[in-house]
């Protein structure tokens, strides 16, 4: 399956492996990291961003594709939908059926509220399902939430909101306990000690895992619990606009049946946005590790209703996306592969950087190694570096890969590549939306009453770069918080009459700013049909 050039390079990788097994590459200094990011991280490519011309973040920049959607109008603009015909009436409306949405649903229903979950695909179809490596929690004796705070806050370049980081790290051990009580099977020693490893940028081994199906194990358990509790769920139903009331609070959403295109009106005392990320917008034409539904819908809904975004200009490119073969291009190769000892190695067999730098640094490092230092290898799809997976079994013994990272073994093996024997080619892939709707530590929007957000749709928890394992943690901690907050808030909410005036006002603002895109947003589904593709239909190559 590998080309001649790749096979030649593998000989060099093998030749240096013994020596590399006994040497740990040095970690970069703060100054070196800073300069690497500024020169090579995609967030610093100015031509890939565009200024937002309307709304609360007017004058700031966002990835060009996101700005385009923010500058597009609502499907409902000019439609005169009758909001007095209410199809659903609930205490808590949860938009999104991933890890955050399901956690919120369970807690809100626990708190006695009536709950409705809507999701544009199936319940559990979300990035949570695809998280592989693990979930952080400082529960070992040599660790503490304080140490976790320092890692997360520093790894996010000191830009996160301190009260959100405190919430994240303080509630992490309880989150693990909660999941275990729901029946999640974490990797453990025979005496019950959690098997924990490092992630990029962690100072203690606090990554808990369920093989390399960590997110899948969590997501299928949460989904099962939502179903056991008979919480109402509308699948294949998207939210296309938030509804507000005459007091300016969130009061529900206009839903759309994805299969019939019928609109439905849902009135709710509180609304939780848990819509996830943006990978399928393919910023800078990167491939993505994300779910089919990751089209940033929640950002559009919240913003049009008047909620400000935070750090919408910072995106996480996971350093190790599969770079070859084509069928799996962009698929996530979990950071756990590096936690277990695999190094990043260039075409000459050199471990050019420490394997566990934070993700932004590691991604920029790969791009520099390929584009700057010209020491990447060339696959039929473009540049890559090696992830030297055979090291794992040299360090931990034969059988480790199948036991600890079976999904990764499978990912490559089905295309004839055995990562136990040969290294695998990797290149950064669009992975995570660091920023999003700004919230407080109880998940409430800063400006719109009764609107809450949780998970990847939010901004501020991770600053300008998220650490591995803090996203699964985020969806559980803040998903639960949001469910509890929303249920309690709903007890005292008095709604005025429903309105979509903000949609008209937003359209007028766009018009005044001279912005026309001829598109509507949110996007809901990526444009992958051949006739609808906006760039090369297969393979998403780095521009």
């Amino acid at each position: 399956m590998y080309t001649e050039e790749m096979l030649e390079s593998i000989k060099k990788v093998e030749a240096t492996r013994d020596e590399r097994l006994h040497t740990e590459p040095r970690r970069l200094t703060a100054e070196e990291k800073d300069s690497l990011l500024r020169t090579w991280h995609p967030d610093y490519r100015e031509d890939a961003f565009a200024e937002i011309k309307v709304g609360p973040n007017r004058g700031e920049k966002a990835p060009a594709q996101l700005t385009h959607l923010l500058h597009s109008n609502s499907r409902l603009y000019g439609l005169n939908l009758d909001l007095s015909r209410i199809d659903y009436d609930t205490d808590v409306l949860i938009i999104g059926g991933g890890g955050a949405g399901c956690s919120a649903a369970i807690e809100a229903s626990n708190a006695g509220a009536s709950v409705l979950v809507v999701t544009k695909l199936r319940l559990g179809d979300a990035n949570t399902m695809m998280a592989e490596g693990g979930i952080q929690a400082a529960d070992k004796p040599n660790d503490s939430p304080v140490q976790h705070y320092l890692d997360a806050y520093g790894g996010g370049h000191f830009a996160a909101k301190p009260e959100l980081v405190r919430e994240l790290v303080s509630k992490a051990p309880e989150a693990i306990q909660w999941l275990e009580n729901l029946g999640v099977m974490f990797d453990k020693e025979a005496d019950g000690t959690m098997v924990t490893t490092h992630g990029g940028g962690t100072s203690r081994k606090r990554m808990h895992a369920a093989r390399d199906y960590s997110g899948a194990e969590i997501m299928r358990t949460l989904r099962d619990e939502v179903q056991n509790r008979r919480i109402p769920v509308l699948e294949f139903t998207s939210a296309v606009e938030l509804i507000k009331d005459t007091r300016g609070q969130a009061a529900g959403a206009v839903l759309m049946n994805m299969e019939t295109d019928d609109y439905l009106v849902c009135r709710a005392k509180t609304v939780i946005l848990a819509t996830g990320g943006c990978g399928r917008l393919h910023y800078q034409h990167f491939p993505t590790s994300n779910h089919y539904g990751a089209t940033a819908d929640g950002l559009i809904l919240a913003y049009r209703a008047g909620a400000p975004l935070l750090y919408q200009d910072t995106i996480q490119y996971h350093p190790t996306g599969a770079a070859f073969p084509e069928q799996i291009q962009g698929a996530l190769v979990t950071e756990k592969v590096r936690s277990l000892g695999a190094q990043l190695v260039n075409i000459d067999g050199e471990a050019y950087m420490h394997p566990l730098e934070t993700r932004d640094v590691a991604a920029a490092g790969i791009i520099r190694e390929c584009r700057g230092n010209k020491k990447g290898l060339t696959t039929p799809l473009g540049y890559a570096v090696w992830l030297d997976t055979p090291m794992i079994e040299e360090i931990h013994g034969e059988g480790t890969i199948e036991a600890r990272i079976p999904a990764m073994l499978r990912l490559f093996y089905q295309y004839g590549i055995d990562m136990r024997k040969v290294p695998v080619p990797v290149y950064p892939t669009l992975h995570y939306q660091n920023g999003g709707v700004e919230i407080d530590e109880k998940c409430f929007s800063r400006t719109i009453g009764n609107l809450l957000c949780a998970g990847e749709v939010t901004g501020g928890v991770h600053g300008r770069n998220r650490l591995m394992g803090n996203s699964l943690l985020d969806v559980i901690v803040f998903g639960r918080d949001a469910g509890i907050s929303a249920a309690h808030k709903a007890e005292s909410v008095k709604l005025g009459s429903l309105t979509l005036n903000h949609v008209t006002e937003y359209a007028q603002a766009l018009q005044s700013a001279g912005e026309h895109t001829n598109d509507v947003s949110p996007m809901l589904l990526p444009k992958y049909a051949r006739h609808a593709r906006e760039f090369e239909w297969r393979g998403f190559r780095y521009a």
Binding site: T29, L121, R122, D125, M129, M130, A138, D139, P141, P145, V146, Y149, L150, D151, Y153, G154, F158, P162, S170, K171, P173, Q177, E180, N181, L182, G183, V184, M185, K188, E189, D191, G192, T193, M194, S203, A210, R211, Y213, A216, R220, T221, D224, N228, F236, M258, E259, S289, H291, Y292, E326, Q327, L332, A407, R410, L411, Q414, Y528, A529, R530, R538
Partner: protein, 224 residues
């Protein structure tokens, strides 16, 4: 010229590049998928698919996001399959020999045809894990079914009408909650957080001037 193959979506012929996955081939053919598509990387089980190569007797199942197209492949998506999940309150369940009989009695109607195992795109020993469940070997069933993505290909082929993924899921939840050894260090830490043991230090970090916390971060000791 790239190599093209003929595939038949619901019986209708399309010419598509030979190196595509079935999902990418649907899209090449012009479909905008709503059902039968999910994570596209083999984790969510949304794209269960059944196919037959023309002239061959065997019906095969796969995940459309992983399976590469073949010439003369007749393809039908299985966007939904009516599996029968039982509802239960996990807190009230007890691990016992009877539990599978109570919740999923149909597993005892398994006729041993092994069609489930042959159908599994994850290459799990499905019939074997159902056998574990029949015998009340909950943890063994949990381990053997662990890599299940719940696509349901197994259930579509089962003459006994078993909803295998939900049997596996029940045993995993029972194992995670009741059978796996408890983590003392986790219970201790949850208690310490509840007592407020870290509150002061966290508060200090939150109020620390930028230069000091940066120094602290850049010089922190990293566990080997």
């Amino acid at each position: 010229m790239e190599e093209m193959v003929n595939v038949y979506f619901y019986g209708k012929r399309y010419s598509v590049p030979a190196d595509l996955t079935i999902i990418a081939a649907w899209e090449y053919a012009g479909y905008t998928l709503k059902r039968g598509v999910g994570c596209r990387h083999g984790f969510c089980g949304a794209c269960a698919t059944i196919y037959r190569i023309k002239g061959q007797n065997e019906l095969k199942t796969c995940l459309a996001c992983e399976k590469q197209v073949e010439d003369n492949m007749y393809v039908a998506s299985i966007p939904f399959y009516p599996q029968d999940k039982r509802s239960y309150n996990l807190d009230e369940l007890q691990v016992s020999d009877q539990i599978m009989m109570e919740l999923y009695p149909e597993i005892y109607a398994c006729i041993g045809c092994n069609a489930c195992t042959k159908a599994c795109p994850q290459e799990l020993q499905v019939m074997q894990y159902i056998a574990y469940a029949q015998r009340g070997e909950i943890q063994k069933c949990a381990e053997a079914s662990f890599n299940c993505v719940m696509c349901g290909c197994c259930s579509t082929r089962c003459p006994a009408g078993i909803s295998h993924p939900y049997v596996g899921l029940l045993t995993r939840r029972l194992t995670g909650k009741y059978i796996a050894p408890k983590s003392q260090h986790l219970a201790d830490r949850v208690e310490q957080v509840r007592e407020g043991r870290f509150d002061e230090e966290l508060k200090e970090l939150m109020q620390m001037p930028a230069a000091r916390i940066q120094e602290l971060y850049n010089n922190r000791e990293i566990e080997k």
